[in-house]
Symmetry: C2
Subunit: 118 residues, 2 copies
DNA sequence: ATAACATATGAACAGTTGTTCATACGTTTG
DNA sequence: CAAACGTATGAACAACTGTTCATATGTTAT
């Protein structure tokens, strides 16, 4: 006929499978948070910042110099990393030092590297 | 004076540290690939697709129905997931089934979940 | 061969994102 | 206090991304 069905006619999913899928699927909020976390890792500048912080804490201008980018651009991205709780900071006079918040960062990046190296 | 220095005047990074950072920093191509991988995880639709595939392989229309989205939208995203080698597919007549490529997917998502759960 | 179905894909459009620029904030020094 | 420095931030703009829509491709059945 002329009218398309919204989905395929013969469904391959069974009731038990649908239930099982819905059980394992995280709630809306967790899913959103998870996606936001991966979005943070999905940017070259932010990944580079995390990599330079692997070695030691650094101030904003040092990171900017190491990555050959403007202070403003780095500061904006450090804000994103901080909101995602991937880095923390401490002030020392005029200078603000940033450092990795915990070891999850290394683990997640490591797993990603494992994948792209087959 | 009136002219701003490009970077802070007193650098906190030392030569040894800079060398060490540059040593650990992956090459341009690996960094790019890593970022592209995380970008793939940074979308609600794609994460949802991966979650439903945790249970079993599914055809495109089943995924579309489970996520209440159009066949086209799902197909576009499956293409992205396939290019990232996170899913694979097999054809069976008119139907194409998609399934997880390997266990890195579970590991990476698991690590992400660990982080957001503090 | 034709029709119907399942999937794939190109174009377009809206929403999002990262950088730059200008400027504000917070701290130290004279 | 004012000036200088290091950092933070809002606005604007270009580049990118995900969905929709229309349509094409590939397979099966009549």
């Amino acid at each position: 006929m002329e009218v398309r069905a919204e989905y395929c006619e013969e469904h391959h999913v069974h009731k038990e499978l649908v239930d099982s899928v819905k059980l394992d699927m995280p709630d809306e909020e967790s899913l959103y948070d998870l996606v936001e976390l991966f979005k943070v890792f999905g940017d070259t500048t932010r990944i580079r910042i995390l990599y330079v912080l692997f070695e030691s804490e650094l101030c904003v201008c040092d990171i900017a110099e190491l990555l050959s980018m403007s202070q403003s651009a780095i500061s904006h991205q450090l804000r994103v990393l901080k909101q995602a709780k991937l880095v923390r900071s401490r002030r020392e006079g005029k200078t603000v030092f940033y450092f990795l918040a915990d070891d999850h960062v290394r683990t997640i990046i490591g797993q990603g590297m494992d994948h792209i190296n087959e």
